[in-house]
Point group: C2
Chain length 223, copies 2
């Protein structure tokens, strides 16, 4: 029996925008593609969803990141989808885009980082994807605890302050910043732990409260 010719199915992939902070500005991690199309060009880490391995699209993105960086469970959020007949030369494709925020020290030195303001030419629609993710992250940073996921396990308020300023590309009043953090109730003091940075008073170290690990705290808004 001859089956009816069916059109080739859509390609289903995931892409991840891995953001970190280096030299005081946001950087994205890019990788050289090891297969066509666009072999050897810098591009976002991504790959096919594997029906036999991945329990969800998010799990596929986590797997890709783990394979490329060794990171086990970064902060990972869905950004949205991009799709259409023309974005991938292999055919009609849909990619679910995720973004991850990680502290730079956790990345292996082999990972190539590029300032988001000075990216190389990118294949597919990766440039637009990164622009969208950066805009989203900046927007969320202004009213949530997002940037704490760019900090290592322990950090001082001053360090976090610098991280916020780097992400938002703006200056923030220190006193008000501290109040904001108290409102979010996401941090907890590490008892007795301080960090000195010269001939001055050492700063209290903080960590993200366990119940907020890899979750987001958002300021209340109302109509």
């Amino acid at each position: 029996m001859k089956t009816m010719e069916s059109p080739t199915p859509p390609i289903l992939t995931v892409d991840a925008v891995l953001l970190t902070l280096a030299d005081g500005t946001l950087h994205a991690a890019l990788f050289k593609r090891d297969a066509p199309p666009f072999q050897d060009q810098w591009a976002l880490p991504g790959g096919y969803v594997r029906v036999d391995e991945d329990d969800s699209a998010k799990a596929a993105a986590a797997r890709v990141l783990w394979q490329k960086t060794g990171l086990a469970s970064p902060y990972l959020e869905e950004f949205g989808t991009v799709s259409g007949p023309a974005r991938d030369p292999r055919g009609w494709s849909l990619s679910v885009v995720y973004y991850a925020l990680v502290p730079a020290p956790l990345l292996p030195p082999s990972v190539a980082l590029f300032p988001v303001a000075a990216l190389p030419n990118l294949p597919f629609d990766h440039a637009a994807i990164i622009a969208g993710v950066v805009a989203r992250v900046r927007s969320k940073a202004s009213y949530s605890s997002l940037p704490v996921y760019l900090c290592p396990d322990e950090f001082t308020i001053s360090e976090l302050h610098a991280v916020y300023q780097a992400v938002l590309d703006d200056t923030l009043n220190m006193a008000n910043f501290r109040r904001k953090l108290e409102d979010l109730e996401i941090l907890e003091e590490i008892p007795g732990a301080t960090r000195a940075s010269g001939r001055n008073r050492p700063a209290q170290l903080y960590r993200v409260a366990r119940r907020f690990k890899h979750t987001l705290s958002v300021r209340e808004r109302g109509l």
Copy 2:
């Protein structure tokens, strides 16, 4: 030449949560499935992405809505994706979920509406999807112009006020509500047009400014 056996590809579908206002509360449009699985059960409108017809996943969702309701270009936004091996008995599937807001009068009477607080049993993960969308819409309504897309072309401030209250399930002070709308700058008076509703002063009619048709206006926020 014998090709290597490849695993069955993932299923790629779109689902749409069509919301409208009826009897003063949010309702979702559901349709009886006309094919297995779950034939004849109420479910969200949805379907396969058709590589040969659809220019994007969003276009696929628009097509599905058009086929089921005749609506040509409702307010339509991506909600996110759901995916996994178990959510669809046909196999590993990913569905891109969209939500649409439409004025009830534009829907053909054949469309079945259910209050979002009293839905029938739904197949797949459709109940969770609707719950997520409703939460998103409520959240956005509190700081944006989202609910205007539930209003017909012309409406009074009082009517829009009622719509906001229905969506948010809360009461809003009228004077402050008017100020908020002015801040959003999304509405424009229809010169000379008013609507009477009894033996009282008629209300000014408004419309969504053309530049905001099917776009969102959001209050500014800052850190």
